[in-house]
C-alpha cells in the first residue's frame, strides 16, 4: 500500500476520516461498555433476587 498524495486537500480529507472514525469508535465503545455494565448489573440483581427467595423459603420452613 503506497501513501496517497492528497495534494492541497490533505487536511479536509484526513480530517474527515479522523473525525468520522473517532465518532464511530466512541459510539462502538460506549455501546459495548453500556452493554457489559448492564449484563453485570442484571446478573447481580438476579443473584440477589434468588438469594432473597431462598431466604424467604428458609424462613417459612422454620
Amino acid at each position: 500500500m503506497t501513501m496517497v498524495d492528497l495534494g492541497k486537500y490533505a487536511v479536509p480529507v484526513i480530517g474527515s476520516y479522523v473525525a468520522s472514525l473517532a465518532l464511530l469508535a466512541a459510539l462502538v465503545g460506549l455501546t459495548v461498555w453500556q452493554g457489559a455494565r448492564m449484563v453485570r448489573a442484571l446478573r447481580q440483581a438476579e443473584a440477589d433476587a434468588e438469594a432473597a427467595a431462598q431466604a424467604t423459603e428458609t424462613d417459612h420452613a422454620h
Partner: protein, 242 residues
C-alpha cells in the same frame, strides 16, 4: 412462523444473539475494505481532486442518518398500534446511532464544502433540513431521558418520531423539491447516467454495506441492553415491593 414472534423479548434475545457476531464481522470487513479501497486505491476526481475520497464516509453516513429515522418511524408505529415493547426499545436504541451518523454527515459535509464551495456552511435546503434532523435526534433522546414512565416515554417519543419524519424525508428530497442551494443531487441513482463513475461506485457500495452492517450490529446490541435494562427495573421494582 409469524414476524410478531420476534416481539417476544426472549425470542428476540435468542435470534439477535445468533445474528450479532455475523453482523459485527460483516461490518468490520466491509468497512475496512470499502474505506481502504476508497482511500488508497481510487483516483482523484477531475474537478474535486482528492476531496472525492470523502464520499466513502459522507454518503453512507447521510443515507444511514435518514434511513435510521425511517426505521425508528416503523418501530414507533408498531409500538403505537400493537404495543410491542421490543419495537419501542429498538427505536430508542437506534437514536444514538442515527445521531452519530448525522453528526458524521454534517462534519464531513462541512469539511468537503469548505474547499469546494468556499464555505463551511450554507442555509441550503438539504443542509438545513439535515441540521433540523440532527436536532430532532437530540430532542428524541432527551425526551426518553426526561420521562420516568417507560410506556409514556415510548408514546411521546413515537409521536415526536412521526413529526420528525417530515424532516427526514425533506433531507432526502430537498434537492428535488427546491432546485436551489449548493448541494448537488443524489450520488447514487437507478439511472446509470446519473450515477457516479464505476471507479467510485463499487467501493462506495462496499462502504455503504459496511455502514448498514454496523448499524444492524449496534442496533441489536443496544436493543439487547435496553431489554436487559427493562428486566433489571422490573426485578428492582419487585424487590422494593417485597
Amino acid at each position: 412462523m409469524s414476524l410478531w414472534e420476534y416481539a417476544n423479548p426472549k425470542k428476540f434475545m435468542e435470534t439477535s444473539g445468533r445474528i450479532l457476531p455475523w453482523a459485527s464481522g460483516l461490518a468490520a470487513v466491509a468497512l475496512c475494505v470499502g474505506l481502504v479501497w476508497g482511500f488508497f486505491f481510487t483516483p482523484d476526481d477531475y474537478r474535486q481532486g482528492s476531496t472525492v475520497k470523502i464520499i466513502y464516509i459522507h454518503v453512507p453516513s447521510a443515507m444511514m442518518a435518514i434511513n435510521i429515522w425511517v426505521m425508528m418511524l416503523v418501530t414507533s408505529l408498531i409500538w403505537l398500534v400493537r404495543r410491542h415493547h421490543v419495537s419501542a426499545l429498538a427505536a430508542k436504541a437506534a437514536a444514538p446511532i442515527g445521531l452519530t451518523m448525522t453528526l458524521i454527515a454534517l462534519a464531513t459535509g462541512a469539511l468537503w464544502g469548505q474547499p469546494m464551495w468556499g464555505t463551511w456552511w450554507a442555509w441550503d435546503p438539504r443542509l438545513t433540513s439535515f441540521l433540523i434532523l440532527c436536532l430532532f435526534y437530540l430532542g428524541y433522546m432527551a425526551l426518553w431521558q426526561a420521562i420516568d414512565n417507560p410506556d409514556t416515554a415510548a408514546d411521546l417519543t413515537a409521536v415526536l418520531c412521526l413529526v420528525g419524519s417530515v424532516f427526514a424525508l425533506l433531507s432526502r428530497y430537498a434537492v428535488n423539491f427546491w432546485s436551489q442551494g449548493l448541494h448537488q443531487g443524489a450520488s447514487l441513482s437507478l439511472d446509470k447516467k446519473e450515477n457516479v463513475s464505476d471507479v467510485f461506485y463499487f467501493p462506495l457500495l462496499v462502504s455503504i454495506a459496511g455502514f448498514v452492517a454496523l448499524f444492524v450490529a449496534l442496533m441489536l446490541l443496544r436493543t439487547r441492553t435496553e431489554i436487559r435494562g427493562r428486566r433489571l427495573r422490573a426485578l428492582m421494582a419487585r424487590q422494593r415491593g417485597a
